[in-house]
């Protein structure tokens, strides 16, 4: 029964990550493309848009896959710790993909007016800082789960 519960939990979290890492950013970029500035429509290079969406989808799918394995693993297991660590590392790559796909510094052309550039590099760096702390926590988890393996197993049996 516990295994089924874990599988359902894994699917739910994978779905949450699909929404937060793929669906929401995709909707956001689509919405930005429809924005009207000073009464004039924004123009975004199709190639840039395709590149941004490709990298977000690619890393988003890997993160969602990792989330499934993380949350479907038993609590305080080494397997969970390892997948959680991989997930954080892929999350860092996902954030970095905003930078190398050009999404952190996008220029929109406003026809007959000029252009508009939005730079979110600073925001990405701050998020990277938070992910570093999360990385420390996940490494700590793996060490903790390994050292206290017997105690965790005993507690799991009692429950």
């Amino acid at each position: 029964m516990g295994a089924v519960k874990n599988m359902v939990k894994g699917f739910i979290f994978a779905a949450i990550y699909v929404v937060t890492t793929i669906v929401i950013p995709m909707l956001l970029f689509s919405w930005v493309r429809t924005m009207v500035v000073q009464g004039l429509p924004l123009d975004f290079e199709q190639q840039d848009y395709v590149s941004v969406i490709f990298w977000l989808t690619a890393f988003g799918l890997i993160i969602s896959g990792c989330a499934f394995f993380t949350y479907s693993s038993p609590k305080q297991s080494i397997r969970r710790g390892v997948f959680a660590l991989i997930q954080v590392l892929v999350n860092c790559l996902y954030l970095w993909s905003y930078k190398f796909s050009g999404a952190s510094d996008i220029t929109f052309v406003i026809a007959d007016f000029g252009y508009f550039t939005l730079n979110i590099s600073q925001m990405i760096l701050v998020y990277m800082g938070v992910y570093f702390l999360t990385l420390v926590l996940k490494v700590y988890d793996i060490i903790d789960f390994s050292i206290n393996r017997e105690k965790i197993r005993e507690d799991r049996m009692k429950a």
């Binding site: 009464g39 007016f113 000029g114 252009y115 730079n119 600073q122």
Partner: protein
């Protein structure tokens, strides 16, 4: 509960609060940027009241004085202050160059004659900042200005010499997490005659 788990929970709560704070600031910053850009007349460049004074000596045809004033307004419709507002203006002239590149051929040229950046500080949230950009001869690139007696085709136009401005507005938002650059290109500001 094991002490290591208690330490973990405390650390986890700290990371959670940090993530929530940054996410809130980012979402509000993004919404503000969208509000600022989509609100009509956020950027009002008052070209009607722009003062453009170019004085050329009648005998030596040397540029003696140049003054340029451009009033503009910027409305901050967002949730945070707009910081580090910086405006760069490049002035360009468009004219027909006589006998260029070869005698008997006139070519339309566009030359940058003026460039200056000015820092305007902060516009508090929900307010409208009214500023005036000024420039003078020290920002003027005299060397590139054509010889008005021999090089400018005065039969073209009017105006024979057209003046255009490129405005580049830089500003920081959401405690510096977002940087925005808005470029207004080829804005007509005047002409001679």
């Amino acid at each position: 509960m094991r002490p290591s788990r208690v330490f973990r929970i405390i650390f986890r709560i700290f990371i959670f609060l940090l993530t929530i704070s940054i996410t809130l600031v980012s979402i509000l910053g993004g919404l503000s940027a969208a509000l600022i850009l989509t609100t009509p007349d956020t950027i009002e460049v008052d070209t009607a009241n722009a003062d453009f004074d170019l004085q050329i000596n009648n005998t030596t045809f040397v540029i003696e004085a140049f003054n340029f004033t451009l009033p503009f307004n910027l409305t901050n419709a967002g949730y945070f202050d707009l910081e580090n507002l910086n405006l760069t203006i490049n002035l360009e002239i468009n004219y027909s160059h006589v006998d260029y590149p070869t005698p008997g051929v006139n070519t339309t040229r566009q030359l940058q004659i003026f460039t200056k950046s000015e820092y305007f500080g902060t516009i508090p949230k929900g307010t409208k900042g009214t500023f005036s950009f000024t420039g003078d001869l020290s920002n003027f690139d005299i060397g590139v200005f054509p010889n008005v007696t021999t090089e400018v085709d005065w039969y073209r136009g009017p105006p024979a010499i057209e003046f255009y401005a490129n405005l580049i507005i830089n500003l920081d938002y959401s405690i510096g997490l977002h940087s925005i650059t808005i470029g207004i290109l080829d804005l007509p500001v005047g002409g001679i005659p």
